[in-house]
Symmetry: C2
Subunit: 491 residues, 2 copies
């Protein structure tokens, strides 16, 4: 089965697509640009969603649900927002179908035209801020800390499973605050939640930074981002947190009276992460034989395969394995005992490698006699014969080790792919050879940023939060610069 | 605050609407017919969803996600389905907006018209069965047991919060089986899951039955239902499970080869429950002072309010309450300690009554001296002074008692509102006076059912599964009948 995946070296994009399909994560649907998230992919998303949701609630947020549809006029209310979001959208114009009078199926009823078209939400700032107007009167109503889990639609011409699809699942936080300072603090808090989630759960190192004006969210004062590096040396934006200033409060007239009864506009943030993270997770760790999943998010952490010849042998294995799984369960380790006799062990090994199950345990009759079990870790393929005494605790430690090992491996790759560059020639060459992040001086103008993008397809991924100020010259124009920024080609 | 709710006696519909708004459950949005589920309402939905999801997984189902959009032509593929579902739908006709050349905001770009219109899913049978075609080849691929949590849209002209809105949240299970028998077994299994959930979690007694042909799901061979009774004597359909026969398999050409390599169409089921359940839950138990929630689903099970004069007193109360909450936490009881000093205790009492928090605990300085605490249950308002020794266990038992008490109360109401009726005159009179379910003979024809609906607005809610066969005469036509069915006016 693994033979059917294109290797990363041969064609990275094809490898990714093959992997998503073969591992049963997702597939394209009959609707152009929309994907079907298959049960295994969705189980992974549930684990990610549950952990993020837990972290949002720990930081004081509540979930709510706002309408799928946004009146067209709402999108025009915030000037920058409409420029960025009102273009590639699904537009609902009618609310009824009827039988074709010619008897050819059904047609749109021309009499059921909406007075005002509805847009399928590409993001929900406008409908939410229109609502907040009624929820916020006084400083006592603040902060308002709300998150929504939802589907959104942004019409895409060129799509890739998880990475860019017309419909995707995400969460969007929308908070309201009494002061700019509190809103900025919230923006950074949620960036840190994303960074912690990416590093500790996805085992994916990220760089925290601020976007340049050009890459900023439409309607934001500042956009913070976490940027990860994929194995092909391209960057992937993995979560963004926006300080919106008073832009949406002004657009939707949301004022509050402070303790001194003075009226002011509310300060806002929004922040989101999507099913795109699944694409990032796949590309960060996987190899030519299939997925490599971090144990903390793997839908199945351990698979157990019995090897036997007779029913009598099988019974003995079953008995031992029942003991083992009992202990795994007590340690909250998720497992699958695959004793399906329609498939041979070799087929199963390949299948669970493809699916990225972190640990495989194989118990044969000889193993049982020797009181050992064969344990193979997915990330390094290291195989060991381990004593059955206290095996559950050994597996627990092994899962922890895999979690940190794949993080360290990704971090090492990332760290060795940040290159300080001071000449334009080197800049251009490295983008095609070594790839990764190029740390270079930039004169701070949108014109230069766009020119660089035009010449190299590289964009400014972020101005790192921990940047050191340094005098230098812009990599393209030679104009003076006070800091390096990170360039990369990106997903 | 409670003063502002209309009483049930005065205007039941207005009482419901007031309650949903005042308890902070939901509100209407700027988009006609679409609701906003507010944090408290959504917290309740999360509890319901999580429990249902657990029960679906326990019965072997996996979650997946299918596209929001359905190509228009798909709806026509199953003849009965198109009649029932293709009418009041949101239709996407365009995929782009552009700036109005006259400078007046944005307009739909006439050049971005879709070749085939997309329908926002009113239910997903068609897109899912179009997918299953690729997932099912052999009996080894069966059964296929999949569930989806999603938003759906059915354009509604007259809407009511939770009960009937254009967009709502739901789950839809879609399963495929090798035999009719297995599919029917699955249909009944999921009906039982819904019934167990309604009775044991929502504390809402339900009658399990089969729908008449007239009330059947569009495309189903048989529709099973659970029917609950609201306090105004109207029925509310609370979950349906459909045996779809081979209708969708034939419409989408989904065949499998059995063990003997013989090709046959697959057998199907689908089953769903929605945010409508929140409306049912509210109407089943609540009173003129607010919500009454079953402890197993209440977002907050216990609220603790301190009563004090000085900061010194408050400190002593805090210390004791920290002890209590520690013990509540150990018993997995969710609580809120409301020591907000901007609100008086009386305001808080009314507020948590409105929100239906099952138990209120009030600790005053005098109580503390006497080693007691005042405990009030929301359902009966019974107030008691209880010893602080072992208080957490007392609360745990009390929550259990409330759960069964509100179920018993609702069951007694329901049981006394099922009336055997044998004359048309009595039938008509009772619908206006006693209300509830009327158990009456029916001649089994759609004509009679429709005539009764026309005359009385009552519909056949179901043919109960535990029905006893009995010779009789149709309540309207006098024609012979072999069993009674349940009529009621319904939501």
């Amino acid at each position: 089965m693994s033979k059917e995946i294109t290797s990363r070296e041969k064609d990275y994009a094809q490898w990714y697509n093959d992997l998503v399909l073969k591992a049963g994560m997702a597939e394209y649907s009959a609707v152009r640009g929309c994907m079907i998230i298959k049960p295994y992919g969705y189980a992974l998303w549930e684990k990610m969603r549950d952990q993020l949701d837990f972290m949002f609630k720990e930081t004081g947020h509540s979930n709510a649900y706002f309408p799928l549809f946004i009146p067209k006029s709402f999108l025009s209310r915030e000037a920058a927002h409409v420029e960025g979001f009102a273009k590639e959208c699904a537009v609902v114009t009618h609310y009824r179908l009827k039988n074709d009078p010619d008897g050819k199926g059904i047609i749109v009823d021309p009499e059921a035209r909406l007075e005002e078209e509805l847009i399928v939400r590409p993001t929900s700032e406008t409908i939410i801020w229109n609502t907040y107007k009624n929820w916020i009167q006084s400083y006592r109503d603040l902060p308002l800390l709300i998150n929504q889990w939802a589907n959104v639609v942004r019409w895409e011409m060129r799509t890739r499973l998880f990475l860019r699809t017309s419909e995707f699942l995400w969460q969007e936080g929308h908070t309201a605050h009494a002061t700019a300072g509190e809103a900025i603090e919230e923006t950074k808090r949620m960036l840190n939640v994303y960074a912690t989630f990416a590093e500790e759960w996805m085992a994916m190192p990220v760089i925290k930074g601020v976007k340049s004006a050009n890459e900023r969210f439409a309607g934001a004062v500042d956009t913070y981002t976490i940027e990860a590096l994929m194995q092909d040396g391209k960057a992937l934006q993995s979560g963004t947190s926006h300080f919106l200033g008073q832009n949406f409060a002004k657009a939707f007239d949301v004022k509050f009276s402070d303790k001194d009864n003075k009226l002011d506009y509310v300060w806002a943030t929004s922040w989101g992460a999507s099913t795109r993270l699944i694409g990032a997770l796949i590309m960060a760790h996987s190899d030519d034989d299939g997925l490599v999943l971090p144990p903390k998010l793997a839908p199945i952490q351990v698979v157990i395969v019995p090897v036997y010849k007779t029913g009598e042998e099988k019974e003995k294995l079953d008995k031992k394995i029942a003991e083992i799984t009992e202990n795994l369960k007590a340690l909250k380790i998720s497992y699958k005992y695959d004793d399906d006799d329609k498939r041979r062990p070799g087929w199963k090994f390949a299948e669970y490698e493809m699916k990225g199950v972190p640990v495989r345990m194989v118990l044969g009759t000889r193993d049982l006699e020797n009181n050992v079990i064969e344990v193979t870790r997915r990330d390094t393929r290291k195989k060991e014969s381990v004593s059955l005494d206290g095996i559950a605790n050994v597996i627990k430690d092994l899962l922890d080790d895999i979690q940190s090992s794949i993080f360290n491996k990704a971090k090492e790759f990332r760290d060795t792919h940040i290159t300080r560059v001071d000449s334009w020639k080197e800049f251009e060459t490295l983008l095609d050879t070594k790839t990764g992040f190029l740390s270079a001086h930039w004169d701070g103008t949108t014109e230069t940023e766009e020119k660089i993008k035009e010449l190299t397809k590289a964009t400014i991924r972020c101005i790192p939060l921990d940047n050191e100020h340094e005098q230098g010259k812009c990599i393209l124009t030679g104009k003076p610069s006070t800091q390096r920024v990170l360039f990369a080609r990106a997903y």
